[in-house]
Symmetry: D2
């Protein structure tokens, strides 16, 4: 059994990680650290775990762990990593943005298995990708891999409220968020940097813009992203590229029908749908922001690092409704 530690155990991504790891056949929760909840049962912070586990939050990380997941807010992981509280022998999967970019990665491998699976298998430290970044990259990687992104890409994506974390704020207030829609950080969202680095990794002459409009949706879980750009290829040619690219990636599937967010909520899947209209290739992708966009992908990375089947513990029942 892989002995697992979690730091920052009271937040949304940690909660989802615990839900997944609880039923993972080859992992064992050893130490879940939360200073604010230290000494309390896990289900005090994550009430859906009531009846599932009797573990309590630790104040300090138990050192008898094989892997540590960092689930604190952005900007806090680097300090933890440097502080020495994590045993040298433990692998690290960081869910924050701190080590995602090449110039400041400090040896962390960017943990998108559909891009970097072989490197992940050899890695000790993983920078788990952002949720929007994951979904958008899934819609674009095969095109970059084929060297086909030679014009600007336009992306619209909508996300559920859990992406904004559990801290109650004006924009996560039910009375405001429900039956609403709004955009934020249009054309400047920080996930653009991750996305461009990955596209450049696959297509080294990539030099175009990615124009991205992020939208807040009136739902809790899931991301739908739509990317389009002009192409001379036929729809069939592009579909073939996508099928070939994802052939041996177990969580990504092509759909011949238009997609909706609900299809993947609760699962680690990414579904893609391709259309061609007016000379533009248009790729829709859907993922669960908390699973494939965060904690599920983190477990997928753990599986790869430890030589397990990539899908171990991740064949999850979808919510569907």
């Amino acid at each position: 059994m892989i002995k697992v530690g979690v730091i920052g155990g009271a937040g949304y991504t940690a909660g989802e990680l615990l839900r997944i790891l609880l039923h993972h056949p080859k992992a064992e929760l050893k130490s879940v650290v939360s200073r604010s909840h230290s000494g309390e049962f896990l289900y005090k912070a994550h009430p859906d775990l009531n009846g599932d586990i009797d573990l309590k939050f630790d104040a300090e990380l138990n050192q008898d762990v094989d892997v540590v997941f960092l689930c604190m807010g952005h900007g806090n992981s680097r300090g933890i990593v440097e502080s020495g509280v994590i045993p040298e022998s433990a692998k690290i999967v960081d869910l924050s943005t701190d080590f995602r970019h090449k110039e400041s990665s400090n040896g962390f491998v960017y943990g998108l298995p559909e891009l970097n699976r072989e490197d992940i298998k050899e890695a000790d430290k993983i920078a788990n990708p952002g949720c929007f970044a994951t979904c958008i990259q899934l819609t674009l990687l095969p095109l970059a891999d084929a060297g086909l992104i030679n014009q600007d890409v336009h992306v619209t994506a909508i996300t559920g409220s859990t992406g904004a974390g559990q801290n109650p704020t004006a924009t996560t207030h039910f009375s405001w968020r429900s039956h609403n829609a709004s955009i934020y950080k249009p054309l400047t969202h920080r996930h653009l940097k991750e996305i461009k680095e990955s596209l450049t990794q696959l297509q080294d002459d990539f030099s175009n813009q990615v124009h991205f409009i992020p939208m807040r949706g009136a739902f809790t879980r899931g991301i739908l992203a739509v990317s389009y750009l002009p192409t001379d290829k036929s729809l069939e040619e592009v579909q073939d590229l996508f099928e070939a690219y994802y052939a041996d990636h177990p969580f990504v599937h092509l759909s011949d029908e238009p997609l909706d967010v609900k299809q993947i909520v609760g699962t680690n899947k990414g579904l893609l749908h391709l259309q061609k209209e007016n000379g533009q290739i248009l790729i829709t992708g859907v993922i669960d922001n908390l699973v494939k966009g965060a904690s599920g992908q983190a477990v997928q990375n753990m599986n790869l690092i430890f030589g397990l089947d990539e899908t171990e513990g991740l064949t999850l029942k979808s919510t569907a409704f």
Copy 2:
């Protein structure tokens, strides 16, 4: 024109009051006080007012007002009233719980027009009823008036999130409140006291229990309440009682179809539906918690105090969806 002041102008009930008064043909917003927003345009706190009015929040109440609405949280109104910041000549409509109960009313009249219309017309100071209390009383007043509440009453009611105010908390977080349901303060909700006082006012031998289960609904506006108790009367007899009781009350209507919350959202209406099953008379009522349950009723009281038509400024378009 009636010159209106509002104290506590940045909250939900104040916002709804402003929305109504903006279009009231015989009222004029003179001074909207909010210490936290002093000097800002009203639409900074109530962004839907953008384009509708250029008024700014005051730090202190302008004394040239005919009526003042108190929209602060419970427990704050009594201090304001005693502080002398409200001109002696001004009428007061308090939306808090501070003066609702007979033993501590300090001359405030309980402002439920369907119970106390004549007293309201003569009043200088109004204690505006609670939202649950308004809806539940509408389902029961005609029975009490006829002396028919001689056994325990059971009440279930569900409310929208705006009833909990605009402060972001764990139970108003979208990720939690959406697609959820929960109860709170079962059998002990403080509105029970208002309700029992009114029933006793109409039926002086009233001595039974009112068992009330308040529920939080996954919606923003509206209350649905269901009250039932045993009766020997036929459905028709009870319907006749209700029709007679509400005949000259312009906002309360009987429906011959089952009700839903959406029918009255955005309006000052109360709709009622009666059924008889297994010897029980069952009365469903729906109101908008922010309108008939708060700010609309406050304006209805203002209209009565100033001798206007009770419906002035309150013929509002329903939202319907």
Copy 3:
């Protein structure tokens, strides 16, 4: 009083029209035709009208009307107009797509007051614009008017479920639509034709593409549209253009804060917000699809035709939550 007839009175846009006209100080509902509901009270089809009006649906149009609103589905209005059931003397406002395009307008004026107000005042027959088309045009008209649309425009817009009408279908099923998001007719939505005709009307050298991704949102009312295109102008210059263009249009306002759908639900307003990022001017617009996007705009057109103040009966309380 303007005597009003409505044909197709049981649908969503008709319901909203009735809600508005009920309280319009200078209009009187004379005849609401619905074959399916003939002889029933209006509130049987529109239960929120319970208590507001006692009118029943007609089987045939009463001929004593000054204006007739056509609220049937797309493709049905032309037949009605040609059938002679509408008195020759009556003005017509058609809410369908049947007469919106110049080549088949049959004398109908495209009823977007912010584009064609003077023509509308002289018109007998109005083709009321589409909901997406209205919102998107509001974000672009000042740019076209200034001749500034010289590159492709990219538009993302999300709409509430009432835009899909009241017929229950798989994609309007609550279990599917709630907590979901999806796109439809990407790059090919039929409102593009209206939009391009209007842009060409203002900027006769307009020849670029408008790329439009329509999204279904998990809410009932409202549209948010985001349009962007490259510009050399500064943000301030573009804001000046917008302010000048809409200066005497009472329902359109510029906001200096980012927008959300909720701000305008229930009203006939259009709010706009401008940003400039990475050389792109980005305009967000919000309207209520049933009001400014349909029935409110239809009444605005009626007001203009009959020489009333454009805002008569349209100063509506917003829902806000």
Copy 4:
């Protein structure tokens, strides 16, 4: 491996059953019958299954099955059972109401494991309980078992929209159901009969009324039920009864905190919370209507029949948000 057949495979409960069985370690989907979808892939009816399984719907039941789940609408199972299309050797789990009542059970055992586990283990044919009935019984069984239901019980319960099935209707329309609440069949819901039969089974002098107000909630999955009745016992005594009763039932847990629906969505758990107020014992229960209230419980019954661990394949990740 247990070879599984499903009849009525395109509906909501069948979809949930497939989601569960897909990952069940000891069951294998052999034949999923749907006349309307015969020949199509399962994911055409259940799009969340895209990528998970390549099985197609059958027109007729494959006879090589060990157990058959009947997922058709109420009233259709009896005909199927009598028609002979199910092999004699196969066990049957019927999810409809057809065989739930003692006088017409035809040898079917009422499949509530928390009531009848030993009988279920010996059964060939199971009548799977109703969703409301399951949740309400969980709140009352220990009291009946202790002979403590000697006065009327009052129950309020709210359910998600999936309980109404996938057929689009006026009351499942998103534009109506969202942000709404309504009651239906108050005091007369047909699940009352199941509930009373079970209470009588445990407490043979049970002769009181159960007053039940069913409510439609603005959410898709889950039921919250609140039951209360007068009691002389202390809260601690009743908690002890509940703890003892459910001690060896793996899916039912007591919570010391108030409950919400979200805690159990996606799981087969039932959570219970007890309070005592004003002489009344008040029990809140939550389940997922599609899992513990339908298909999860059906699999739990299958596990018991085939001598598997009761939780096999049912340790499901909760949705939580």
